[in-house]
Symmetry: C2
Subunit: 506 residues, 2 copies
């Protein structure tokens, strides 16, 4: 309905423009009259009184509300993610939704154009955060922290083209886990991958694959393929498009837009089709060209170590060393990774189909140094879980299963069997609240018993505490089990205990 109204409203605005233009252009009276008639029809459809209620009733483009059912799913997903982060000993921090504009400048390469700026209303120039990584680095530098393992769950903002049905929004959650500090190689890096594995397994949203690569391997590969140093970053951004575009398109961008020689592009093409495990690492360590490059050798050595640790963690079978993985952000310096969900394997295809990235991250050893006045570096590695796509999948799953999700935790409805018992209901519900019982009542002076019972059916409240004149005299409350319609009289002083017992509250 809301979408319908927004479309109508758009149509209305366009029609207003058309009429205005025709008048300016001194079009024929017939032509103007025809367009005005259309305009009036649209207005009638919208029920718009001239000048009143003429605003659009919608959330901003690329954003959405969460209704109670969606929130119930969201909280379930967050529970799994947060308990994983806590299982790995992470602390939690929070930062403001906006940062000084200059804090974000020069951190995101080509994507900087997607940053939301605030209007200059006097005072500092501000921008909405684009991710949680740059604010984290700013936080570390500002507080001179050289050692922390933290998570941060919050919304970030990108003026991207939204594709909301596929879980792409302009306002979306990131769930970040990062380890900052000077440590022995690849131990924290391996833990980040273990965390992604635990979360995606815990969410039970189907099979997945975690692709890994290393910026040093990419840079070494670019060097031996004959890419000039100055073009590493832009060619890297182009390689990053391989998950959505074909090699032919990517090559033509490299050669056409980025000015790379076709030969260099072809050499890159040979490498980026490679993916595998320890075997591929060994093979590339023997590669006569690549193994001569110092950066690539370092990257491959660390990649080997990483796979040894992943094997000890028992998760190497879900990890693919993939030379086509590039990741767009400027700040990565070492290992990078991205988790994708796989659709059920199709018998006619050899490869599982990639339905989209749900987590990504990597090592960024230089970012904190960009904020430190003396350029002191704090090595960091982290992962970000992209939750919106997971929400979409979970929502579809719930809808398909027709599972009834409760959106409240109410244990008991305080009801009246006769009229004129409002005061008694208020007294009883107050006692229950004060004893920690989750209780509701209808906000009517004299509700019908049937309506009160129906409310429990609708909302899933399992128990009804019924006060009636006889029960009041007897010092009892009638406790009704909604599912079985069983009714028992419970002495008022035992009611709290009985409700706790029946709803398994400790």
């Amino acid at each position: 309905m809301a979408d319908e109204a927004a479309k109508l409203d758009d149509a209305l605005r366009r029609q207003v423009d058309t009429v205005r233009r025709l008048k300016q252009e001194k079009a024929s009276p017939e032509e103007v009259a025809e367009q005005v008639a259309k305009l009036l029809e649209l207005k009638a459809q919208l029920g718009t009184d001239e000048g009143k209620h003429k605003f659009v009733l919608k959330t901003p483009k690329g954003t959405r509300d969460y209704n109670p059912k969606q929130m119930a799913i969201r909280e379930k997903v967050f529970d799994i993610i947060i308990s994983t982060f806590k299982r790995h000993g992470a602390e939690v921090i929070d930062t403001p939704v906006f940062e000084l504009k200059e804090t974000l400048t020069g951190k995101y390469g080509e994507d900087s154009k997607l940053i939301y700026d605030l209007k200059d209303q006097g005072g500092e120039l501000l921008s909405l955060r684009y991710d949680l990584t740059v604010p984290f680095a700013r936080y570390l530098a500002m507080n001179k922290i050289t050692n922390i393992k933290r998570y941060h769950i919050a919304k970030v903002y990108r003026r991207d083209n939204p594709a909301m049905t596929r879980g792409r929004y302009r306002e979306f959650y990131q769930c970040d886990f990062d380890i900052a500090g000077q440590f022995d190689p690849m131990i924290p890096d391996a833990e980040c991958l273990k965390i992604v594995h635990e979360i995606l397994s815990g969410l039970q949203i189907g099979d997945f694959l975690i692709k890994v690569n290393d910026r040093r391997i990419l840079d070494g590969m670019f060097a031996v393929c004959g890419v000039p140093d100055s073009k590493f970053r832009i060619i890297c951004s182009t390689v990053d498009k391989l998950d959505k575009a074909t090699w032919e398109d990517v090559k033509s961008e490299m050669v056409g837009e980025k000015g790379l020689s076709p030969e260099a592009a072809d050499r890159i093409g040979e490498y980026v089709r490679l993916h595998g495990g320890l075997g591929l690492i060994e093979q590339l360590l023997q590669d006569t060209k690549l193994s001569q490059n110092k950066l690539a050798r370092e990257g491959l050595g660390d990649m080997k170590l990483l796979f040894e640790y992943l094997t000890l963690f028992g998760i190497a079978d879900k990890i693919s060393f993939d030379l086509s993985l590039a990741r767009g952000l400027d700040y990565y310096t070492g290992v990078i990774y991205e988790a994708v969900l796989l659709q059920p394997q199709n018998a006619h295809r050899e490869e599982p189909i990639n339905v989209g990235s749900v987590a990504g991250g990597g090592r960024y050893d230089g970012l904190v140094g960009m904020f430190d006045p003396k350029g002191r570096k704090v090595p960091c590695v982290g992962v970000s879980i992209g939750i919106e796509r997971i929400f979409s999948i979970m929502e579809q799953k719930v809808e398909a299963s027709e599972e009834k999700i409760r959106t409240t935790e109410t244990q008991v409805l305080v009801a009246a069997a006769q009229k004129k018992l409002l005061e008694e209901r208020l007294k009883l519900i107050s006692e229950l609240w004060d004893s920690g019982i989750k209780a509701e009542m209808l906000y009517k002076k004299n509700p019908k018993l049937l309506n009160q019972l129906q409310y429990c059916e609708d909302t899933g409240i399992p128990l009804v505490a019924i006060v009636g004149e006889q029960e009041l005299k007897d010092g009892v409350v009638k406790l009704r089990v909604v599912a079985t319609r069983e009714e028992v009289d419970v002495r008022r002083e035992n009611l709290v205990e009985e409700i706790k017992r029946r709803t398994c509250q400790p």
Copy 2:
């Protein structure tokens, strides 16, 4: 330190401006040289290399980060608030951090100037939400919801003058609970006050008082005091300042700025000094002037009903009917309230001192109708808990008590007794994680045992699982209790159970 740097940076910017101005004004070379010298000194203090790292390392004005200790306190406060909302059967929703600018227009009266606008980067004009009430009303109208009880906890934004030591920020949390729907009078209103009472009692932050009034009583009072209809809202805003200003200042604003007659102001002055309970309501119902006003009579009748319900809830002693309570927002239509914390009563004063508002709300029956294309109304009443001041108080309390707050939940550190046991540690910790145990290890190949034990002392981890060569041969792990230094050998297959038993994890 960060504040220090920000001050220096401000000074630097001002000094740059001074030098520029002097040059423009063609000041004497000596004068310019003197100011340039000052400028260079400031730059040296800041350690600013020309053109490098010259940004300010800070959060935007009026905002702050939360470090892990502050987050631990924040989560404790949220737990109490959320469990209260859930005890009253509330669902939860979420809305975007920004709204279409027009959604917020005309809802906040004089305070509209405090709204943060986003920069026009093409597309819709957006503003950051100013509270959670207007987005809630927009949500109800957009989804045609006429009946809901929901809570919403999120940050809101106001370009106000921050006073951060007293918990006043430009980005701050609101915890809102609202009941929408057509119900019998004052039942949901009374529940909102019960919720405020439960939350403030649960937080244990000292004595408090909840002031209540009604917009209809205020309007009736203005009418019988001779305030012209057109001035009701601006005089109401002025009355709202009584909690911070004296009556003399408020009166002089009424007469001077707002053009009210001194006689009318004096008549208002008689009323706004009144506060009390049921007795005062009865007295005003007998007031010859006020009782002739229809609005005031309605408001007083409902106020009487409200106090009856509050008495049934057992909380009337904390509620004060206070004719000076006005609340600034335009959208209230009926009962309004505000909770203040009281300092310990001073023997020399008759009245407890108000240290500030921590919750407020009221009835707004017209707001949803402002969004509905056909103007259909949905009566609403709600309360907003202002959490920042409560955080400040809790933080001070924790600091004063020297209580040690843990910022992680880690149950066990996986440690090595000798060198070359990294692989064994990785294998063991992976087993523990997969069994749901919260476990950490140091990210060193060969950490010293002493350092590993020290890490537990520092972070409060209660147990250490130590792998050593002998233990590996024997198929056991040495489990050490950090507090008592007790050590026992536990068979590997029993380790998970033993850790759960000792850390009371179900």
